[in-house]
């Protein structure tokens, strides 16, 4: 395929992905809006006032960046894992396999779909948060870079999960038993400085801590960890997961007999 044809093929996959999550917006865009609005009401307004300040900001302001990231992570992952598993399950993956689309384009197309859903949900949640608090952006570039890289990393994760999955259970195991705990312990609701040394050290092994803090830095200008380190880690994760996913596609794991 020449560059023009490759671009058309990429576009086709992305449009198909976006059309899918827009068509089922009740399952894809609405739930994170409702969940996050509940967090804002309960943690921000109701008990946030009792907690007082965190990291020099009032509690609501402090948790908004983390909650946005939480929504982006969950939705980027969910979009790719369920979309790719469902075309595998319905065998419509064969439409792609018989066509000359290169594997890189397939992967980038699905990841772009996940990133777009993640970012769209991120924007929705951010807009909702403005009903409860005010936000000013400390460093727009870092904020955008961190949120995009995070969406890429978790879209890739969702893709790999879907490649290995053979039944519907397999696509909810990772989100439930890995992503959710890592996110809740990822410094969304608290600064890890508050933790005893042991838990603080353990938290530093959790990649989500870096993502949440780097994003919080982009918005508020405060972070528990080095922002440079966070960006490096995000990049490294993206590269490793990309190579892993492309290898699965090349060997046809779970998609070619």
């Amino acid at each position: 395929m020449n560059a023009f044809e490759t671009w058309i093929a990429f576009q086709t996959i992305v449009v198909r992905e976006v059309r899918r999550f827009l068509r089922i917006w009740v399952q894809t865009l609405l739930p994170p809006a409702i969940t996050m609005a509940l967090y804002f009401v309960i943690f921000g307004s109701l008990i946030g006032s009792r907690i007082g300040e965190m990291g020099g900001y009032d509690y609501m302001q402090y948790i908004v960046p983390g909650l946005v990231m939480m929504a982006v992570i969950t939705n980027a992952y969910a979009n790719v894992v369920s979309s790719f598993f469902s075309i595998k399950f319905q065998h419509s993956i064969e439409e792609l396999l018989v066509s000359p689309v290169p594997n890189h384009v397939i992967l980038c197309g699905f990841v772009a779909g996940g990133v777009l859903r993640g970012l769209m949900v991120g924007v929705i949640v951010t807009l909702l948060s403005l009903l409860f608090t005010t936000l000013s952006v400390h460093h727009l570039g870092i904020m955008a870079l961190v949120v995009t890289l995070t969406a890429i990393v978790f879209s890739l994760g969702g893709f790999i999960n879907a490649m290995y999955a053979t039944k519907f259970d397999d696509i909810s195991i990772v989100p439930t038993f890995v992503l959710t705990p890592l996110t809740y312990f990822g410094g969304v609701f608290y600064s890890i400085d508050l933790l005893p040394p042991f838990w603080q050290a353990l938290s530093l092994a959790n990649p989500i801590v870096y993502m949440v803090n780097a994003y919080r830095y982009g918005i508020l200008g405060v972070s528990d960890v080095s922002v440079g380190l966070s960006l490096g880690m995000l990049l490294a994760l993206a590269v490793v997961l990309y190579l892993w996913a492309i290898r699965l596609l090349d060997t046809g794991t779970g998609i070619r007999k």
Partner: protein, 326 residues
């Protein structure tokens, strides 16, 4: 002449079994080839390898000169596949399925939408363009898969049982459609369990059984191999036992239905003379089964050459192979 497809010593080993044991054949541009074989013979596996759905474990395949190991994308561009099982997304619209497929081949939307309209109209699906695919009937789904397979205008069209579960009228119109695009230059490979279909459409048949090719010849010379033809005679008065007719084997299918094997070359007059002599009045006469079917069964049972065995064993499997439908 250009060669559309070359398959050389192709092997496929699944976890358990060897599905293809080194098959070789080639297809000339413009041919209409039937790939026949009983369930599990390896037809879909062969097709899957050509199209990139199955990884081969040995041998080579090239499509219009493009080896799939060296330049699979270019090979894939030449091929359109109508698979055996429905494989489109249940919730997408008919029109989107076709246009999206074109997109995967790098065809821009303006071109793709014109082609989608053309093929959907041609296949009688244009009214259904906005329906979700799960709302289609089985026959419509088959036709949708044909439209989808043609949208990038492949030079080689492969259809894996395209008429399974399609009613007779629709099947005939599908045949007409396939003949037409074959005449226009598209090379076609078709698998089917309706042997009548192969006989009527394909000049050449390739029969595969248990992963080996047992026959690869033109349909006409294959039919010439048939050593025996069986006729069904409705007789006026029921009989208790089959009559002894010199030179013909007779069986009573029912008290008033006589099955007679007539060796090739014997005149029907002789049969009627013998029936006359036995005092049997015949009210009607018809061919028992599709001729190709009998041949097919004897080929996969390994009883050719040497003549199809006369007698009953052929009867039941022939009907079974035909899927119970004429």
């Amino acid at each position: 002449m250009t060669i559309a497809l070359t398959i050389n010593n192709l092997e496929k080993r699944y976890a358990g079994a060897q599905a293809l044991k080194g098959i070789s054949f080639s297809v000339q541009q413009g041919e209409f080839l039937a790939l026949l074989g009983p369930n599990g013979a390896g037809k879909s596996t062969t097709i899957g390898i050509i199209c990139g759905l199955v990884n081969k474990t040995g041998g080579t395949v090239s499509v219009f000169g493009h080896d799939i190991d060296r330049d699979f994308p270019r090979a894939k561009k030449q091929v359109g596949l109508v698979p055996q099982e429905f494989n489109f997304s249940q919730f997408e619209k008919v029109y989107d399925v076709v246009v999206t497929q074109a997109g995967y081949y790098g065809i821009p939307a303006s071109v793709a939408s014109a082609r989608a309209e053309h093929y959907l109209k041609r296949l009688g699906l244009w009214e259904k363009r906005d329906a979700q695919t799960r709302m289609l009937s089985g026959g419509m789904k088959r036709r949708l898969m044909i439209a989808r397979a043609l949208v990038h205008e492949p030079k080689l069209l492969i259809l894996d049982e395209p008429t399974a579960g399609v009613d007779i009228e629709l099947r005939r119109s599908m045949w007409e459609f396939l003949r037409e695009i074959n005449r226009a230059g598209t090379t076609i490979i078709l698998t089917t369990h309706y042997l009548e279909e192969a006989e009527s459409l394909c000049k050449r048949v390739c029969i595969i059984d248990k992963g080996v090719i047992v026959e690869d010849t033109d349909t006409r010379s294959l039919l010439a191999k048939l050593s025996m033809e069986t006729f069904l005679l409705d007789i006026a008065e029921p009989l208790a036992a089959p009559p002894a007719l010199a030179g013909f084997t007779c069986r009573l299918a029912e008290p008033a239905l006589l099955e007679v094997d007539v060796p090739r070359g014997r005149a029907m007059n002789e049969l009627f003379a013998a029936l006359d002599a036995a005092g049997i009045r015949v009210t009607s006469l018809r061919n028992r089964a599709n001729r190709l079917e009998e041949l097919f069964v004897s080929l996969v049972q390994g009883t050719l050459p040497g003549g199809a065995p006369a007698g009953a064993p052929i009867a039941a499997p022939a009907a079974a192979i035909a899927g119970g439908k004429p």
